[in-house]
Symmetry: C2
Amino acid sequence: MKESSKEWSLSKQDERLGLLLWFRISRIYNQSIRQSNQHLKKWELSAAQFDVLVQVGSHERLSQQELADKLFVTKGNITQLLSKMEQMGLIKREQEWKTKYLSLTEKGRELFQEVVPQQEQFQAAQFSGLDEEEKKQLLQLLRKIQHKQRKE
Amino acid sequence: MKESSKEWSLSKQDERLGLLLWFRISRIYNQSIRQSNQHLKKWELSAAQFDVLVQVGSHERLSQQELADKLFVTKGNITQLLSKMEQMGLIKREQEWKTKYLSLTEKGRELFQEVVPQQEQFQAAQFSGLDEEEKKQLLQLLRKIQHKQRKE
DNA sequence: AGTCATTAGTTTAATACTAAACTTAAGTAG
DNA sequence: CTACTTAAGTTTAGTATTAAACTAATGACT
């Protein structure tokens, strides 16, 4: 073993593993997103809109920037998503000084009640191949990756 | 009103873990893609184009459908990606009967030599927060998820 | 007050990706 | 040969997403 090697010069073996990991993760992510989109069609929602619904529905006085941060997307993306969802009558934007605070409309709240439990169950079921212990392990490993990523 | 049947609370716990997992995975995926896109700017390539370059460069007589399967995207997506890359002079499409076989042009091969090793290293480095043992473990867990996913 | 930096959100132009409908070529069965 | 089916690729219309440039409000510093 070579603990002396610097972090940025990976061994060939480590590099191969990293690539395999990347490949697996993309595959799982893409598959999940696709399945979620299919599942959400029942309610005429997309996965992205669902994510907004969840966040706005479960936080008071969320600003657009905060929402963007929670979802790890750009604020430009949020602007566009929200315009659509405002049109659909799900979301309200209330300006207060510089900031627009978000909340669900009555219709949005109803949809939230209806769809969130079902969709969460569906999404969680993607990981039903693992038992509780394995999920915890996986979560731990993913956290480590993110921790590192953040610093770069 | 505490509904404390063992099974019920266990599955609730599992559901929470599943959601956390989904959230972590999206975040890691999105972050990685974004960083890859940035890194690939040097060569005026996108992450999607890079993936095509790798696959076409390392397989003989790949059809478009096969490429789509390898990358887990739709063939419609592939058609569009390839049109662009053909225009850029990186890829050749040769029709034989019903099928179009793909290969790199001279320019494509040069780019392949130049960019693939560097980008692979970059991509693998996203997982440098884990040691070799942990990577293997993670890979194992992801494989299990995929295995289950495929069946649904 | 006047200038400068920061912050929230919007706009724009581009790529990526999907689902679904479509076209065309083969392969198969009567 | 005609009709049906399947397979490869294309097209279309729509969403998602980004980066970068922009607008406008806020707040400091001098």
